[in-house]
């Protein structure tokens, strides 16, 4: 059975496993299966949205987008 890192990388949740620090790698290796399943499901929805709208996530850089809905609480 594939480990968390393999599953997340295969699903595209992790773009480049080599970019992870050892501490981050440990966190991801210890994820519960429910956490992994949810992350993969969200990635699938993201990929579907990008395919339908013809853009978006592929060009999104970390930190590029700031207007989060954090104002909600």
């Amino acid at each position: 059975m594939a480990g968390n890192l393999e599953r997340l990388t295969e699903a595209g949740v992790i773009a480049d496993e080599k970019g992870l620090s050892d501490a981050e790698r440990k966190v991801l290796q210890e994820l519960e299966s429910e956490e992994v399943d949810l992350l993969i499901r969200m990635r699938e929805k993201l990929d579907d949205a990008v395919a339908q709208t013809g853009g978006g996530a592929a060009g999104l850089q970390d930190g590029e987008f700031q207007p989060s809905p954090s104002v909600i609480v």
């Binding site: 981050e24 440990k26 994820l31 949205a49 207007p67 989060s68 954090s70 609480v73």
Partner: protein
């Protein structure tokens, strides 16, 4: 190898989930009919913000009941009580912002909120009451974890031509949430979290990202975005 803090572990998990919300949010803010959609966004914000104080009070009460057998009970209760006081009346601010757009209080309160909001808030009531009140920290980690950017809000205001008064809540949170975010990370680091509680916290955060994304997608669909 140095271990990450408890908040660092959560943030590592959130970084993997956030692209889902970031992609929808980017489409929302870049849509050509943003001025027409913005009141719906504020309605979505109000639908959620009106539940924050009652949710935190509920969580505080449940957490208090867990102490002293559960070491996280007392600090969680204290945190939720304090933060509920900080968040009081923010729903009124959003109503004022909507009024600046010509949307009256009665109209807002009579409108049925999105099922995404019910699924978001309802799940947290369930987790708080029937699993563990730590779940609500996952909700707060998403909603307060990335404070809005004031420059972006100015850009939106210029692009839409909407009045400054319609952005008051967002602008205030651009400042307030920076402190709230730091307080939240500190609180998570101080809590005696079991692995199970840390997992629940992350699942609740992922659920929050998904439901807020769905709420934004509903608005986009309504406005042809």
């Amino acid at each position: 190898m140095s271990e990450l803090s408890q908040s660092g572990r959560l943030r590592t998990k959130l970084r993997l989930a956030e692209p889902r919300l970031a992609e929808v949010a980017r489409r929302f803010w870049m849509q050509p009919r943003l001025a027409e959609a913005y009141p719906d966004f504020l309605f979505l914000v109000h639908s959620m913000i009106r539940t924050s104080v009652p949710l935190m009070r509920e969580a505080a009460e449940v957490a208090r009941g867990l102490a002293p057998a559960d070491a996280s009970g007392a600090p969680l209760a204290a945190y939720y009580e304090r933060h509920a006081r900080e968040e009081m009346h923010h729903d009124e601010w959003v109503l004022d912002d909507l009024a600046a757009l010509g949307v009256g209080r009665d109209e807002v309160l009579a409108r049925r909120p999105s099922t995404a909001v019910a699924a978001l808030v309802g799940a947290h009531y369930y987790w708080v009451r029937h699993v563990h009140p730590v779940a609500l920290l996952g909700y707060l980690a998403v909603l307060e974890g990335n404070p809005p950017d004031e420059g972006h809000l100015d850009d939106v205001r210029r692009r839409t031509g909407l009045p400054e008064a319609a952005f008051r809540t967002l602008k205030l949170h651009a400042h307030l949430d920076q402190q709230h975010r730091d307080d939240l990370w500190d609180e998570i680091d101080r809590l005696p979290l079991t692995p199970d509680a840390a997992g629940l916290l992350a699942v609740a955060a992922f659920h929050t990202i998904e439901q807020v994304s769905l709420g934004l997608e509903e608005i986009l669909a309504r406005h042809g975005g």
